[in-house]
Amino acid sequence: MRRLPRKDVVIVGLGWTGAIMGYELCQAGLQVVALERGPWRDTASDFNIGTAPDELRYAIRNELFVRPSQDTVTARNTPDQTALPIRRWGSFLPGNGVGGSGVHWNGHTWRFLPSDLNIRSHYKERYGEGIFPENHMIQDWGIGYDELEPYYDKFEYLCGIAGQAGNIKGQIQPGGNPFEGWRQRGYPTPPLKMQLNQDLFTKATTELGMHPFPLPAANMSQAYTNPLGVTQAPCTYCGFCERFGCANYSKSSPQTTILPVLMRHPGFEARTECEVMRVLMSPDGKTATGVTYIDAQGQEWEQPADLVILAAYQLWNVRLLLYSGIGKPYDVSTGEGVVGKNYAYQANSSVNGFFDDKLFNSWAGAGALGMTCDDYQGDAFDHTGLNFVGGANINGTTFHARPISARPVPPGTPRWGSAWKKATRDNYNTSTNVGSQGSVMSYRDCYLDLDPTYKDRLGRPLLRMTFDFKPNEERMSAYVTEKMVPIMRAMGAKHIVASPKKGPWSVVPYQTTHNTGGAIMGDNPRTSAVNKFQQTWDVPNVFVLGASAFPQNAGYNPTGTVGALAYYAADAIKGQYLKNPGQPLVQA
């Protein structure tokens, strides 16, 4: 192993959180190196209008995602089963390369509800201890919404999020989300133009007494120049967002918001195709001294650094902690330990509607084009007597109609032959969908650890995922989906098919890349891996960013909260940690 010159900071992974932290720490005058195991990617060279709208290549063969042959996880539903590797991605799609998941996302950019962050104490106070499901591990985040608000704002203005505020400094705004937490000002750009689905959804939900508002979108409704001076272009509604890089500079990503400035910063350097093996520790195990990584030639390097930032995808952050011996691994038999605990996911559902007389043209869409209702989100509604914790947003979205994957036909239609062909033709443009995105709570037997059998290409144990949808989530999804059917009926569908989320969780159909937990934040080192600044309790010069910090998942896409927490951690490092390096920011 060859040893490189010391840096102030080494960042593992150059996606959203790595780019945000890299920029903030470079601005503080530090020398920063980011190690990214995937390739360099940029709009001009990698996401070309002449090649980007290729469903087979990007959405079916998964070109932008990490190859399972390079890294995957093993999966099972319960601890008594034998986990097997996910050999081809299905349920979720971890990103790869510079930009990470910020390249291939749809752009739904949410703030969690204030009551999502203190969920345990909030529900306990409102409903009593009896509301919590069996074997739950639901915890407060250790941070309040008011503390996080300025950082949500900062991330939204970095991205230029298109939306309509619902609550500015406590004043409810017409057309916005009346259930959202307060915000200091409106969104940086106005909402996107809406499609037929959204027009019908808005009318239907309004008639039903709900409160529709535009889904906050990282797709540009107009040109926008962010505070770093980086400009994005208006979205053209091409319908190739999720699983694709945007060829049009219209979807907020590290590439379109921050890398053009960061890459030219004299304090910054990125090394691509370099896979970090582990965090190196001092002999007493109290301080990280850097990381080791393997480059594309197979050469191993030591990169010494004073500060180590884990900014990989949620799964890989947890795995690096386990490899490095940072934090006590979670033990399902005792419930003790913190690294790997509280793995959670998202419980989504849909209601398909088949119409006679409407042309939805759903191929003209954007990743986050939609109208939403939060009437059944989080604790925005009364859970008394409902026997579940959590909720979901209800969406009418139009984000694509790519024909290999989006060809709904009514149940009972054959899968092939002339009858299939006719039904496919008749329904392709005359059907639409209402969806819900639901919370998933944390449970004692849903967790991440290292697999005893399967190894990655470098001989390291794969991460093992033990997860299932529990009765609490099935009841939540059934309740919310039942609220979606009348919406679809009011929209005018002739035939309606409702699909609430049900277990067992399967690795096969795509569901969502909203994996959370495993290195959760909190106010107690016995029950969390990191403090509210995402600093590890045990090793103060290691910070772990991203959705791995979520103690359970809310009914929203994670990126807005991931970005806000990264800015929050960066401020704490700049304002507090660097004055007294190596010290915990929160006393245990």
């Binding site: 469903e55 087979l56 399972p68 050999r87 081809r88 109609a401 092939w416 033709r425 392709y428």
Partner: protein, 248 residues
């Protein structure tokens, strides 16, 4: 025909696929904004012609099957004319057929849970070879010594229905598995961009009304709910854009 551009693209594609396994790719230190790296190119166009992976018998069987899965009828051409068999052959001859990028390390337990998904040690190319051999034997046994392409449309439909419903499965022959593979790849080929060899002349996109890769639909958002009348465009452009006398 291989253009210099195509050659370079293939080289880059191969490098990316093998990244980290052999020493062909180069780790890079990046300061400033590089203009090129993984320069992106369209895939090489798959054209009709001799099979690259399938044998003559296998190719004939696939052609017969894709033409029943997607029959030629009053709505338009069938799977064979649309190029679905060409698509499948070219996919099997390439990275997909080799299971590039798929996690293929053992052990492979015999009875995975249905929730654990794909757990076969066979690459798609190997699964086709084995499945089509099993299918040929099954057909010879059950249809008087004949081959798949010699069956009538009604007999083929009966065969495919039995495969789909797992009624033809035996210890030697997993008929359901080969049916699902062919069905899935046929649909991919029919609806994918024509550059991959299926969906010839965008027949599938014309059938359902998908405009393809037009990229800018701001005009559609200005008049929602109305019929879109512009013809589809693929990564290859439109057939009439090609020079008169040019191939394809």
């Amino acid at each position: 025909m291989t253009t210099p551009r195509g050659t370079r693209r293939r080289f880059l594609f191969a490098t990316t696929a093998l990244m980290g396994l052999v020493g062909t790719a180069t780790a890079r230190t990046i300061e400033g904004l590089p203009w090129t790296s993984n320069e992106v190119y369209p895939p090489p166009e798959a054209r009709p012609g001799p099979w690259l992976f399938l044998t003559a018998d296998e190719g004939a069987a696939i052609e017969a099957i894709v033409d029943r899965l997607i029959p030629a009828d009053e709505l338009g051409p069938g799977g064979k004319e649309a190029g679905c068999a060409v698509f499948i052959d070219r996919q099997l001859a390439g990275p997909y057929g080799r299971a590039d990028g798929v996690y293929m390390q053992g052990p492979f337990p015999p009875n995975p849970l249905p929730t654990q998904g794909f757990q076969s040690p066979l690459t798609p190319a190997q699964a086709y070879r084995k499945g089509l051999a099993g299918l040929a034997a099954h057909v010879a046994r059950n249809f008087g010594g004949r081959k798949v392409p010699q069956l009538s449309p009604e007999e083929l439909d009966r065969l495919l229905t039995a495969l789909e419903k797992r009624e033809a499965n035996s210890p030697e022959f997993n008929g359901g598995e080969i049916f699902d593979l062919i069905h899935n790849n046929t649909m991919e080929g029919f609806f994918a961009d024509p550059i991959y060899g299926g969906n010839r002349d965008m027949v599938a996109w014309k059938l359902i009304g998908f405009p393809g890769t037009r990229y800018d639909y701001r005009d559609v958002l200005a008049k929602t709910g109305t019929r879109y009348t512009m013809p589809p465009v693929s990564l290859l452009g439109r057939p009439e854009w090609r020079r008169v006398g040019a191939r394809g």
